[in-house]
């Protein structure tokens, strides 16, 4: 009897801890960002309510969660510690529009939604695919980029040329990503090996633990940079709209972001940032995709 009471007490203790709402454990990760240093600025505890242009102005800075390890979109330059990329620059433009500083902190795939819900960030601009599951949890801006999931493998690997070939192979991706789900749907027999970051997946591809890495083409371009003995195999097999994530029911903020994206497209800033950051990787037209 005493033993049962003890176990019950322990259960309650766990429940009480988790009911507190702050969940620092799963937000770890990003350990292998090429910059070498972890994310900046440990943020304060969760804030209730929604971010609005007024609240951001009052705070004095726009906090964006971006990737630190995706070349072209969000990348911490190891030589000068600057955050470079299309996502980072869009954050800076929106901050400029509101009239505040942009603050960029690292968001890995798995912690983006918790970051928004706890208001550690105002926006997530991190190669974030818009999908229905996520739309139930958070709001998205209009799409600003259309990516496609592709397959990266060693040039010497001729056994992989299309998505069907992934069946029975070790396929690396990142946990919590749309890519993982797509592989499960299109190649159900593939053995998924899921890492926290694509840097780790690239290492695993390089040393042969994986036959292929599958995710959005844009992320794969960064891996080709790091591992020149790899190439994209076949055509992209999905269409994925990247959007800017914000906490559910952020109506005011969403309007501001959507309007600013349209304004950037109209006055040429969108095209300029596109060409500066991702022009060398993609042959797509530098244009804002239509709002859905």
């Amino acid at each position: 009897m005493k033993r049962i009471a003890t176990i019950l007490t322990m259960l309650f203790a766990v429940a009480a801890c988790s009911a507190g709402g702050s969940s620092p454990a799963p937000t770890a990760g990003g350990s292998a960002s090429p910059g070498g240093s972890a994310s900046a600025t440990p943020s304060p505890s969760p804030v209730p309510g929604n971010s609005t242009p007024a609240s951001i102005k009052e705070k004095g800075r726009l906090t964006c969660g971006v990737k630190f390890d995706v070349v072209g979109f969000g990348f911490k330059n190891p030589t000068n510690s600057q955050i470079e990329g299309f996502d980072a620059d869009i954050c800076r433009e929106i901050a400029k529009k509101i009239g505040v500083e942009a603050e960029l902190i690292e968001a890995v795939s798995a912690n983006r939604i918790p970051f928004l819900n706890e208001r550690r960030v105002d926006l997530v601009i991190s190669t974030f695919t818009i999908n229905d599951d996520r739309k139930k949890q958070i709001d998205f801006s209009r799409p600003y980029y259309v990516a496609g999931q592709s397959i990266l493998a060693k040039i010497s690997n001729t056994a992989v040329t299309k998505v069907d070939d992934l069946n029975g192979k070790n396929v690396c991706s990142a946990e919590g990503s749309t890519s993982e789900k797509n592989v499960r749907e299109k190649a159900a027999q593939a053995k998924l090996v899921l890492f926290k970051t694509y840097t780790e997946a690239g290492q695993a591809l390089s040393d042969g633990r994986c036959d292929a890495v599958s995710t959005d083409d844009v992320i794969l371009f960064g891996l080709i940079n790091a591992y020149p003995d790899t190439e994209l195999k076949g055509e992209p097999f999905t269409t994925e709209n990247y959007g800017i994530g914000m906490k559910k029911d952020s109506t005011e903020l969403k309007k501001l972001v959507d309007d600013e994206l349209a304004a950037m497209d109209a006055d040429g800033r969108f095209k300029a940032l596109w060409e500066k950051n991702i022009g060398k990787y993609t042959k797509k037209e530098p244009k804002l995709p239509p709002a859905s």
Binding site: A25, G176, R209
Partner: protein, 217 residues
């Protein structure tokens, strides 16, 4: 929390649970065997083996397990030693080697607690050194160190979670993947319960063995 129908998510979690169980049992057995051998070599192996085993213990005891696993995963990969591409095998080897360094220290302390005259008497009765170790010294030594060995085994079960760092599909990995897929944090509670279903019976078992052997003394 959509648990009752045995859907794809529940199956993934069950698979993770099973992997953790296999990893735990496999590594407990391997580390006990390896650790006991290392302890014997250190006590009776002569100066060279003593130095080698001491080096082994200090090396593996003084670096983080996660770092060892990360190195091991890359080292054993096809592009390097071409031993395995399977994170499970790398994790099993890594956990066993790591835990064995602690086990060897515990067993060694047990061996040192056995009166020297036990060995002398056994040799005097005509047993070879190996026989004396196997049938006289080790049984008494292990009996003394059942509680620390139990502790190490329980710690090992919990350390299997670190194998998620090299993408072994064990329980914590499954919980993390499912949390990302379903956006429900509750999978981690399930993982807590899962670890309890292994560690609590293990603690009970260790207690039982301890009582039984104490009686025999």
């Amino acid at each position: 929390m959509n648990l009752l129908p045995l859907d794809e998510n529940a199956a993934l979690f069950a698979q993770g649970y099973l992997t953790t169980l296999q990893l735990s049992i496999g590594a407990i057995v391997l580390s006990l065997v390896l650790g006991t051998i290392v302890a014997c070599l250190r006590v009776w192996g002569g100066a060279v083996l003593e130095a080698l085993t001491r080096g082994y213990v200090e090396f593996f005891r003084n670096t983080p397990l996660l770092v060892q696993l990360l190195f091991l995963a890359v080292l054993l990969a096809p592009a390097n030693l071409n031993i395995t591409r399977d994170a499970f095998v790398a994790a099993l080897i890594g956990l066993s080697i790591y835990t064995a360094s602690y086990v060897s220290e515990a067993v060694r302390s047990g061996i040192l607690s056995v009166d020297l005259r036990q060995m002398e008497a056994a040799r005097g009765l005509g047993l070879s050194q190996l026989e004396a170790i196997r049938f006289v010294v080790l049984p008494q030594a292990i009996r003394t160190v059942i509680p620390p060995l139990g502790n190490l085994s329980i710690a090992l079960v919990k350390n299997t979670a670190i194998a998620s760092g090299i993408a072994a599909n064990e329980m914590l990995k499954a919980a993390g993947v499912l949390e990302s897929r379903t956006l429900q944090f509750e999978w981690y509670y399930l993982a807590v319960l899962g670890y309890w279903t292994m560690t609590i019976p293990l603690a009970w078992l260790v207690g039982r063995i301890e009582r039984r052997l104490a009686y025999a003394r």
